[in-house]
């Protein structure tokens, strides 16, 4: 399984990276894209939307089914990756390069567990 060490992972299979200015980027894990299969559509929030940790921020559709995406942190959307709207297959090809949204003022909330890559690997093995 492809698992970069600098990312943190949620139980709902989003990855997140937060920089020193509390700006975060969020996407979905390699495990998630693999279990969904070919991704063909993505629905993202608008810049300026504010979320609490655990809120639904959009959905990803594969040929088979739809999956909701949840925000691993609280904050305000400062950018969306528009390239994914027209080329959602990039998520399959490069899940960790395919960030969905950028969140400003990212605040970790105790209600959402963020795992290290090794913790997440163990979590996925139990799920599969």
């Amino acid at each position: 399984m492809n698992l970069p060490d600098n990312l943190r992972f949620s139980k709902s299979h989003e990855w997140i990276i937060i920089d020193e200015n509390n700006t975060a980027k969020v996407g979905i894990s390699d495990f998630a894209q693999h279990s969904m299969g070919d991704i063909v559509f993505i629905n993202l929030p608008s810049v300026g939307d504010s979320f609490d940790a655990g809120d639904e921020i959009g959905d990803v559709e594969s040929v088979k089914a739809v999956s909701e995406i949840y925000s691993p942190v609280s904050g305000t959307v400062s950018a969306i990756n528009e390239e994914l709207l027209t080329s959602p297959e990039l998520i399959n090809e490069d899940p960790y390069g395919s960030w969905f949204i950028e969140i400003e003022g990212a605040t970790i909330d105790d209600s959402i567990t963020l795992m290290t890559s090794s913790e997440y690997e163990e979590f996925c093995q139990k799920e599969s």
């Binding site: 299969g37 559509f41 040929v63 088979k64």
Partner: protein, 363 residues
């Protein structure tokens, strides 16, 4: 995933070796995809794909009164079905609801092979058994038989290459017994469920692994193993109905858009009375989603704010590269090019009524 109680086809281990992602379908462990639904779908449209459909049920109906029984139980005309030919039919209950859709192969006069949906196998067997009269018996051959579908524009070339004896069927909806592919004896029919030319191969269970491997490993013909996901997207692109989605016991063949397989000029068939006398409630229509989103089964279809029906199958279609759906809506309420709204999890998304099938092969 290995230790569940679902049934397996003889190819279960082979599917795992090929990297098949397994799911439960109709009580069987079946591969949903191998390399990915899009690549598998395109392989069938452009070259060739092979499906394991051994989960489907096969019954042999035999006896002097076989044709009379079939003509009474099935909606389509069976008395004109000649040896070596295949016919699609519905089987209805007394109220005209669809029990199953199936293929009938005429082996000889007095011997017919039925290929039924896996999920309906037990139900169908009971229904047919209960309705047989006179000199006619039914045998369930499903456990001893395996079925492969070889589909795509290159399927002829692949089969020709591997043919070791006998002759391949040349006409659509015909079949030949005693065909030998890579030394394996089988029955080959010119049929399929993908909207592309191709064959379905019926062989004994213990020989199917060898057959499957030889089909997948032919020199210089690109053949992909395909899973149920691609089978579903291909049949939707070709607008074939699927039992449990477009078809069920509460809808008649006419309402499902299958009037071509209902011969109301026959003296009698089970369900005829209801089909003739009751008003037609629904039409099956095709929708191309023009807004942003993918319509899925169960989504509501609206016209000018009024609920007019429900999506029965919908997804992204890989060859047409767009979101399409079939829906069951109030009879004749829309015309081709009308614009409707689909409620996709609370979002209202526009779709255009388009002609079925979405895709027709010209290869």
């Amino acid at each position: 995933m290995d230790s569940n109680n679902y049934k397996t086809t003889p190819l279960y281990e082979t599917h795992l070796e090929l990297g098949g992602k397994m799911i439960e379908y109709a009580g069987f462990n079946m591969p949903v995809e191998f390399t990915g639904v899009i690549s598998e779908h395109l392989s069938v449209r452009e070259t060739c794909g092979v499906f394991d459909v051994s989960h489907m049920g096969e019954f042999l109906i035999s006896g002097d009164d076989a044709v009379a029984n079939l003509n009474r139980i099935m909606t389509n005309e069976m008395s004109t079905l000649k040896p070596g030919k295949v016919r699609y039919t519905l089987m209805c209950n007394d109220s005209g609801g669809i029990i199953d859709d199936l293929l009938v192969y005429c082996i000889t006069e007095g011997r017919y092979l039925l290929i039924v949906n896996a999920a309906n196998r037990d139900k169908d067997f009971l229904w047919i058994s209960d309705n047989l009269k006179g000199d006619c018996i039914i045998d369930d051959l499903s456990d001893g038989l395996a079925l492969l579908a070889v589909q795509g524009p290159e399927s002829d070339r692949l089969m020709d290459r591997l043919l070791t004896n006998g002759k391949l069927p040349e006409k659509y909806y015909s079949f030949n017994e005693n065909v030998e592919i890579s030394g394996i004896k089988l029955t080959a029919s010119y049929t399929g469920y993908t909207g592309e030319r191709g064959f379905e191969l019926l062989c004994r269970t213990h020989e199917v692994t060898e057959l499957y491997n030889s089909l997948l490993n032919a020199d210089d013909i690109s053949v992909l193993p395909c899973g149920l996901a691609a089978r579903d997207t291909l049949r939707l692109e070709a607008a074939f109905p699927l039992y449990g989605h477009e078809l069920n016991e509460n809808i008649t063949p006419i309402e499902a858009g299958l009037g071509f397989a209902v011969k109301t000029d026959k003296d009698f068939f089970i369900g005829k009375e209801s089909i003739i006398n009751n008003p037609v409630r629904y039409s099956r229509i095709g929708l191309k989603v023009t807004g942003r989103g993918i319509a899925r089964e169960g989504n509501t279809v609206e016209l000018n704010g009024e609920n007019i029906g429900t999506i029965t199958s919908g997804t992204y279609l890989p060859y047409l590269k767009g979101a399409y759906a079939m829906a069951s809506v109030s009879k004749d309420i829309v015309n081709i090019h009308d614009v409707v709204t689909i409620d996709i999890r609370g979002r209202k998304v526009e779709a255009e009524v388009v002609k079925l099938p979405f895709y027709k092969s010209n290869k």
